[in-house]
Symmetry: C2
Subunit: 349 residues, 2 copies
């Protein structure tokens, strides 16, 4: 188009680089292309002699299979579609890292597309992935109806993180959000708090609901009645957390502790409290959730529930790889764990 290279007469010079094709390898090794393909994919048995010859030729010529051609030929593209929600979020970032690293070990490449917490965007994202002939799709949470996801799984292995659904080529797993939230709340209760405010996430999502349930669980276990005035719903962002605190404070329902259902909201809440001259943890104990890096470096360092987001990515990738090779997918995430830092303290009275 803009690169005016000579039209490349007949063939073979489509790219200036040393693009070696499977055919050339075959020729160099004195075998047929099919044989090379078979060796590459382990599709059928091949005599050791030819195997060696081909391997040598591959080394020699520096052959690298062309994933695009593979994709076209109906074979695998060695790429996995990943539907993330907001690629810039610190939460998803860590998961993507885990996915990327783990897939790479198997020679796969992730193809990230953002769903933006929007059903239509997400649908479009998946379509994009399908048209790109990805070998499988990993969906991180999201808003697509379960049924639709199941449909996708009809033609492709699908791994869903953070939701509960199952099917032939459909595998999902979740972190134990409920137990994690229970731990967080219990930690506050253990420190003598009884008026514990809660910032929920968007209750459209399972994980947000589960975290709220965990909060309820702990309160119930301690015989503390749920006070609706102590609960606000927000959106998992820093700004949302800050806003939530304002709303909470306007209700003048006093509280001595606050559990924000993710770290980003907790950080925002911390600033919101600060603006109202409420100190953490002196005036209000604060707990987050996810234990992102930011929790460790917050001021004060934030007590949080450890959820190895990176690990989530790794497990998702492994589950996908398992399905791809015909095995049974599985995922064993470490259980939730409370990381006590300096944003919480015993209620003094």
């Amino acid at each position: 188009m803009n690169a005016k290279q000579p039209p490349a007469k007949k063939a073979s010079l489509s790219r200036p680089d040393g693009v070696v094709t499977l055919e050339q390898v075959a020729e160099a090794a004195g075998v047929s292309p099919s044989t090379v393909s078979r060796i590459l994919n382990g599709t059928a048995a091949v005599s050791q002699a030819k195997k060696d010859a081909v391997q040598a030729a591959i080394q020699d010529l520096g052959y690298r299979p062309n994933p695009v051609a593979r994709g076209l030929a109906g074979g695998r593209t060695l790429s996995i579609g990943v539907v993330t929600q907001i690629i810039s979020s610190p939460f998803y970032g860590e998961a993507l890292l885990g996915i990327e690293r783990e897939l790479e070990r198997a020679g796969y490449v992730p193809l990230f597309v953002s769903g933006n917490w929007n059903e239509d965007d997400e649908r479009k994202a998946i379509e994009t992935l399908l048209s790109r002939r990805v070998d499988g799709v990993i969906v991180l949470a999201g808003r697509m109806p379960d049924a639709e996801l199941a449909t996708v799984a009809d033609s492709l292995p699908v791994v869903v993180v953070g939701r509960q659904l199952a099917g032939p080529q459909l595998f999902s797993f979740s972190f134990d959000n409920r137990e994690g939230a229970r731990l967080a709340t219990q930690h506050l209760i253990d420190q003598g708090h009884r008026r514990i405010a809660f910032i929920a996430g968007d209750l459209m999502h399972d994980d947000a609901v589960e975290r709220q349930n965990g909060y309820f669980d702990a309160l119930a276990g301690a015989g503390i009645a749920v006070d609706p005035n102590l609960i606000v719903q927000s959106d998992y962002t820093e700004a949302g957390g800050m806003l939530a605190v304002s709303r909470l404070l306007e209700r003048d329902a006093p509280f001595t502790a606050l559990f924000a259902s993710n770290d980003q909201m907790a950080i925002g809440a911390c600033l919101g409290l600060h603006r109202r001259n409420l100190r953490v943890p002196d005036d209000v104990s604060l707990v987050g959730f996810d234990d992102l890096i930011m929790a460790r470096y917050a001021m004060p360092p934030l007590t949080s529930v450890r959820q190895s987001v990176y690990e989530v990515g790794v497990e998702a990738a492994n589950a996908m790889l398992a399905m791809l090779s015909g095995g049974q997918p599985k995922a064993h995430l470490p259980g939730p764990e409370l990381v006590a830092r300096e944003s919480t303290r015993r209620l003094s009275r």
Copy 2:
């Protein structure tokens, strides 16, 4: 492999979904495949009548071109490779978001691969991208030698962010790191500070060097001698910032202000100071760089140099799109801007 669908007799049923091919569109519209292709790519003039017929058929059948086949046929894949360094970093995350959003508007899809600040990884990443027949490559900083990058540009349009190099199909642009750092330092000087410590990034990288130069500029402008004891080098991470503070403090070269050359190190430094019972801004004024979201929600909110990382992504994508359509790439980033928050204050004496 694992999905045991009936072997799909002859053709056309390779995928259960409604995979419509260009050929089917042609048939439906009563024209030849080439004509459809021409309309799709604007390769040649076509009569309005056929144009309409084809468009109708496309709508009707819900045809979507297959990027994989396109790639094989030597056409475009409508995908752009993006070499990021650490996909999970809050800094790159924002840039990727900008890239993704902007490319999408033009129907392109980004393919993200991580270089991990490692020359070999980066090289491998680029190879991966090339083998996937991306239409262009965007490189965010990184360690690849300039010459090698230029080689890549021989066969593909390349946009490099954060480095200075140019060539036929090679475009690069940078944020004005030097001026930004000068502003940050000047801000501290304006507030009466004269003993201003500096945490540099990895001086292997242009931007880190430039930020250090900006620091020197401001000191020189104010007639303040550079004190090597007030400078430490680190790695742009929170942990690195924290460590840097320790090293600084061990030297017992007193300082009243600290300029960390990115926000992540500043956040880490803040915690490090806190651990030594030094308060920000009461004992030490602190300035960061990049103005990531975390700066706004730090405690205290961090004074920083605004660099719209998102915008950087948008500009990079646009420059690439411009090259792809044969135009002149350009990028106009807003100049650096100091955002004064609460981590800095006038030196009281």
